[in-house]
Amino acid sequence: MIPVELYIGLAAVIFAIGLFGFMTQRNGVRMLMCVELMLNSANINLVAFSSYHGNLTGQVFTLYVIALAAAEAAIGFAILMSIFRMKDMIDLDKINVLRW
């Protein structure tokens, strides 16, 4: 069987990619995608562990996380839409009125 470490490693790499994107992308939508990436890397973890432990808790959790991610995405896109309506762009590094 494939050792669980490989799944976790995969998840970690995906998570790191998500992080990298999150930290470097300017576009709000891309950042949202990166968030999805991170959440899904966690899902990989959950499913892998679920399988290795032989209980289904992780899979249930995964389902919930998917639903939550959807809800989150909906909110995120809504906010981005509002911003876009107001500023005609969604480059988040230019939205920095609030600082210091």
Partner: protein
């Protein structure tokens, strides 16, 4: 299983749905009713919660627990929401979207309440997200105000990131112990303690909770969001959802991960010191009152975090009491800024930065009740005696000394002294600096909310005995499971 155990939650859900549905059919001018309705519902829920203090039960396949801890924090959340909801009667006056405002706040509160009751990480995570997702929208509620939207998107993005981090951490806990139940994890935590993944999991969870608590360095969103959001939402965030992070952290670390005590104590010690220092130092020269309060709220979070380091019943009791006090004080302070913002905007619709400290000039003359309440809140935050803030600091700091962490107490106390500077600055502006403004009639809902908050602050300050008792009971719940 006794459903009455969840009477508060059920009441809240019913209230939320009722507000949503009734709101659809009401004309704009009579939407005020929703505020009364919501406040009534919250009050009933509060009654149920208080009435159920002292019960101890597990429910729903042991995924929820009702005990002193959960009930105490539910009281905190409900009180804050109550203040919020009373004040919001004025804020939403004439708005078409009153029902959204209320329902989101009520849902957020439901999320917080479930976090307080959670006995399973899955419940905890979902409830956490419920509270977050509801407040993301709330914080961007003034959708034509760029600041509000900016606050919202920052809050949302960092919130999502933190959720991901937290979830990542939870997966490791699940991976090692094979369960998401808090007692189950506690049982299997020995394996965690033995492996480096335990540290990672702890830190990821701290990051996740620390986002809500606004611990440095996971606090970056907080000043921006508190400043940009509508003041009332800031009050909910600072006073309510921050406590959700605290109670979640209490449960996860002290109950589930007591085996990794050393690891998270180190982390919390460092974070507490950094947080209170950064919070106070950065607050010193702020000119936006909301931002100042945000930083002050950081500092307060730092004090509460000391409870994790000290970890004696009294310290935890102090931390829990502090959570309640802070709820009153911070909610009150933000409601004051809401009232000031209202005042400024009603004079000049296009005013920039309505919460600028210059707008507090002469507030003592312009809005005497508001100014007096603010004085009490900031003095309470600074820890002047006979206020809730002092009482909580008294218990918390003194227990820190008792446990031998004198250095921590010294840092906290020096910080507390430092904070007096900016608190005093607000008072100075309100009472000593001249203004051209004239006396303004203070909106009744704000005043009512302020009076309730002041009453709470003074009640804890003057008659802390029952509060201390229940805070201690709550602390015992935590330690009974773990130690």
């Amino acid at each position: 299983m006794d459903l009455m155990l969840f009477a508060p939650e059920i009441t809240m859900v019913v209230t939320g749905l009722a507000v949503l549905l009734i709101g659809l059919f009401l004309p704009v001018e009579s939407k005020k009713v929703l505020g009364y309705l919501a406040s009534l519902g919250i009050l009933i829920a509060l009654y149920f919660t208080v009435a159920s203090l002292g019960t101890n039960a597990l429910a729903f396949y042991d995924t929820l627990s009702v005990d002193a801890l959960s009930q105490f924090f539910k009281i905190v959340f409900l009180v804050v929401t109550l203040l919020f909801s009373i004040a919001a009667i004025k804020y939403t006056e004439g708005s078409k979207n009153t029902e959204e405002f209320y329902v989101l706040a009520i849902f957020a509160t439901i999320g917080m309440m479930f976090v307080a009751s959670a006995n399973d990480l899955m419940v905890l995570f979902v409830a956490f997200e419920l509270a977050s997702i509801s407040t993301y929208t709330l914080s961007g509620f003034e959708k034509n105000n760029p600041q509000s939207l900016e606050a919202s998107i920052k809050y949302f993005l960092i919130g999502s990131l933190s959720a991901a981090l937290m979830l990542f951490g939870i997966t490791f806990l699940y991976g090692v112990t094979g369960t998401t139940s808090i007692p189950g994890i506690a049982a299997g935590a020995a394996a965690l303690a033995a492996s480096p993944i335990g540290i990672l999991a702890v830190v990821l969870l701290i990051a996740g909770f620390g986002f809500k608590i606004a611990l440095v360095p996971f606090h970056m969103w907080a000043p921006d969001t508190y400043q940009g959001s509508p003041s009332l939402v800031s009050s909910l965030l600072a006073a309510g959802s921050k406590k959700m992070g605290i109670v979640a952290a209490f449960k996860v670390f002290i109950v589930a991960l007591i085996a990794l005590k050393v690891e998270w104590q180190i982390a919390f010690a460092v974070l507490a010191v950094i947080t209170m220092t950064v919070g106070n130092a950065a607050a010193l020269s702020q000119t936006s009152v909301k931002r100042m309060l945000a930083y002050s709220s950081l500092a307060q979070a730092g004090y509460i975090t000391m409870a994790f380091v000290v970890l004696t019943p009294m310290a935890l009791g102090g931390g829990i009491l502090y959570a309640l006090s802070h709820g009153f004080m911070k909610a009150g302070a933000f409601i004051v800024t809401a009232a000031v913002v209202y005042m400024v905007l009603s004079e000049n619709k296009d005013a920039q930065n309505p919460d600028h400290i210059d707008n507090f000039r002469g507030l003592g003359r312009r809005m005497p009740v508001t100014a007096l309440s603010m004085t009490i809140f900031v003095f309470a935050l600074a820890g002047i005696p006979l206020t809730a803030g002092y009482m909580s600091k008294f218990v918390l700091f003194s227990s820190t000394i008792q446990a031998g962490f004198a250095w921590l107490a010294v840092i906290a106390i020096l910080n507390s002294a430092l904070s007096l500077y900016y608190y005093a600055k607000i008072v100075k502006y309100m009472y000593f600096l001249p203004t051209e403004g004239t006396k303004v009639s203070e909106p009744l809902p704000y005043t009512l909310a302020l009076v309730v908050a002041v009453a709470g602050v003074l009640a804890i300050g003057f008659w802390p005995e029952p509060f201390i008792y229940w805070a201690m009971e709550a602390a015992k719940v935590l330690l009974a499971g773990g130690m």
